[in-house]
């Protein structure tokens, strides 16, 4: 790929000093570790200045007892181009601490992040500050645990039972 990631990183770091903590190349993919508190500014900069208009994916990974900080929120941003080598996909990662996990929302940059952030909140309990409508999306609204956390016990049916019984008792969503 002809895209110059070095100058992109330099541009981000000059606009937001220390925002890019690390660059990783693996299997032809570029990953940038971004300072968690700058993620929204960096995303805005990438979209505004570098034309990464498309948010391909937003998800999270739980590294319980493997790494601190415990969570990584992963963004896949994409830049369209008329030619093959002008289509650039970039992975951004922001590390989020295990207690009271919180990160800025990017919904004001890409409105498609809405449901994706809701899913991460639903599955990992990571709170996106500034999200317009942060509710559970796939699990029932009164469900308590966060299923994709590594300390979630898949055999434990109690939480589902509670939410099911409440629905039977009270009706509703």
């Amino acid at each position: 790929m002809s895209f110059d990631f070095d100058s992109l990183i330099a541009a981000i770091n000059s606009a937001y000093p220390g925002a890019v903590k690390e660059r990783i190349e693996y299997r032809g993919e570029t990953t940038l570790i971004i300072d968690k508190d700058r993620i929204s500014s960096v995303c805005g900069h990438l979209k505004g200045t570098f034309g990464f208009t498309f948010l391909a994916d937003l998800t999270a990974v739980d590294y319980l007892e493997i790494r601190t900080p415990r969570y990584e929120v992963v963004y896949h941003v994409h830049r369209f181009g008329p030619e093959i080598d002008e289509n650039i996909r970039l992975r951004l990662k922001a590390e989020v601490h295990g207690d009271n996990p919180k990160i800025d929302s990017v919904t004001h940059i890409w409105s498609g992040a809405d449901w994706l952030e809701r899913e991460v909140y639903d599955m990992f309990g990571i709170v996106f500050t500034g999200h317009p409508d942060l509710r559970r999306i796939l699990m029932p609204e009164d469900y308590e645990p966060f299923p994709l956390r590594k300390d979630f016990d898949v055999r434990d049916r109690e939480a589902s039972k509670r939410s099911f019984e409440r629905a039977l008792r009270e009706g509703g969503d």
Binding site: T53, V74, I84, W115
Partner: protein, 409 residues
């Protein structure tokens, strides 16, 4: 059955007409034939005009991403069928490609396997578009187009059945290539399909494309601009129908798509009719790709020569001790990709499907994330139907061509 509730807190009194009106909440689904699964949309109506639409999803949530953390990479494959079950072969191939990328063995995959996968991928695309167009037309009252589409879909299922023994839940290729060589009559069946399908396509075309009722129901309905479509992250015909020529097969080619001659159809109106036109043309382009594939289907090995990843041939498993041991180790422990993470995207019929795999060096994925196109495309529904008539909601859902198995995973 639809449950109707009245919200009576703020009744509006219209002084001119002397009529008191109120916004009505109409619950559509989760058991509704036009929602293509179990989707619930709560509609707030002013008369017949939609004021607000709120989709509720998750009724089909099976926790596939969590389940895959507990099984080997090979065992994850059947779960991918159950996402977009209308094009399960495309999900399968997308997953296999991601694992191959994680292992770093893409270059070792033989050409025969790659070409066969391209042919099957495009058959899956036609299969899915036939359902998409057929059910969209059925929801809007055109039953005959639906029947023509489903008749042809059977033919594709027959091909899939000869290749892998299953019609709907294919679970077909394996990491490293194909599990068995293609059956002898594969080429003949595909050629036969290439011969008969254009006639059906022309029939569907003549039933719908210039049909006055169809045009009235879809043209200018559920419109979305190119900017909004990109902002929302739409992909597939939902994005190309708005004039953005983004197709993963061209943008980030896989399986050697860069060597095939095909066009990416784009329509500019961004309405339900544009998306329909895109799907129709994509089927014609898929035929072109299948034809090139079947004409250049090379002979030779069908699976990579990688003993660490690919199961030994059945005959050897039964006759040789070493092969038997290898078979057992691969089935019980699975292959172990090096620690690392990859994302791989494919152009599924409904849009960009991407898998994000994180390996910790063991035989099971540490994290498998599926970005289903339907999940993201579904977000466009509230925008599309706002201020439109209730009947247009049906046209909008049909034209987005969602499948709930993929939204809920």
């Amino acid at each position: 059955m639809e449950r109707v509730e009245f919200i009576s807190q703020e009744a509006n009194f219209n002084a001119d007409t002397g009529i008191r009106t109120e916004t009505m909440m109409l619950n559509m689904g989760p058991q509704h034939p036009a929602t293509h699964g179990v989707l619930r949309v709560v509609l707030y109506l002013d008369g017949e005009t939609v004021v607000k639409a709120v989709p509720y999803i998750g009724y089909l949530h099976r926790g596939i991403e969590k389940l895959c953390e507990h099984i080997t990479y090979q065992q994850c494959l059947p779960y991918t069928d159950r996402m977009d079950y209308l094009a399960s072969i495309c999900n399968n191939i997308g997953y296999i490609l991601t694992v191959e990328k994680l292992l770093g063995i893409q270059d070792a995959i033989p050409e025969r396997a790659k070409t066969a996968e391209v042919i099957l991928f495009e058959l899956g695309r036609i299969e899915s578009h036939l359902v998409g167009i057929g059910t969209n037309a059925l929801d809007l009252g055109a039953m005959s187009a639906f029947l023509y589409c489903f008749k042809e879909r059977e033919r594709i299922y027959d091909i899939l059945e000869t290749v892998c023994g299953a019609r709907l839940t294919t679970s077909y290729p394996r990491v490293g290539g194909l599990p068995l060589d293609l059956p002898d009559d594969f080429e003949e069946k595909v050629r036969n399909f290439l011969k008969v399908f254009p006639a059906t396509l022309a029939e569907v075309d003549s039933l719908l494309t210039r049909n006055r009722i169809w045009i009235d129901r879809t043209k200018g309905v559920a419109t979305i601009s190119a900017e909004d479509a990109i902002d929302l992250g739409l992909t597939g015909p939902a994005l190309r129908g708005s004039g953005v020529p983004y197709d993963v097969r061209k943008a980030m080619p896989y399986l050697g798509y860069e060597n095939y001659d095909f066009e990416v159809p784009v329509a500019n109106e961004g309405d339900a009719y544009s998306r329909f036109l895109c799907r129709m043309e994509e089927m014609r382009q898929s035929l072109k790709i299948i034809e090139q594939g079947i004409n250049n289907l090379p002979d030779g090995p069908y699976a990579a020569d990688l003993p660490d990843v690919v199961l030994p041939e059945k005959e050897l498993t039964y006759t040789r001790m070493e092969s038997l041991i290898r078979h057992f180790v691969l089935v019980y422990e699975g292959f172990k990709p090096p620690a690392g993470e990859v994302q791989h995207a494919v152009e599924n019929p409904k849009g960009e499907l991407s898998y994000y795999l994180v390996s910790d060096g063991t035989g099971k994925p540490y994290r498998m994330r599926v970005r289903g196109p339907s999940f993201v495309n579904m977000q466009a529904l509230p925008n599309m139907v706002k201020g439109r008539l209730l009947a247009d909601v049906i046209a909008a859902i049909g034209s987005l061509d969602i499948v709930l198995g993929e939204i809920d995973r």
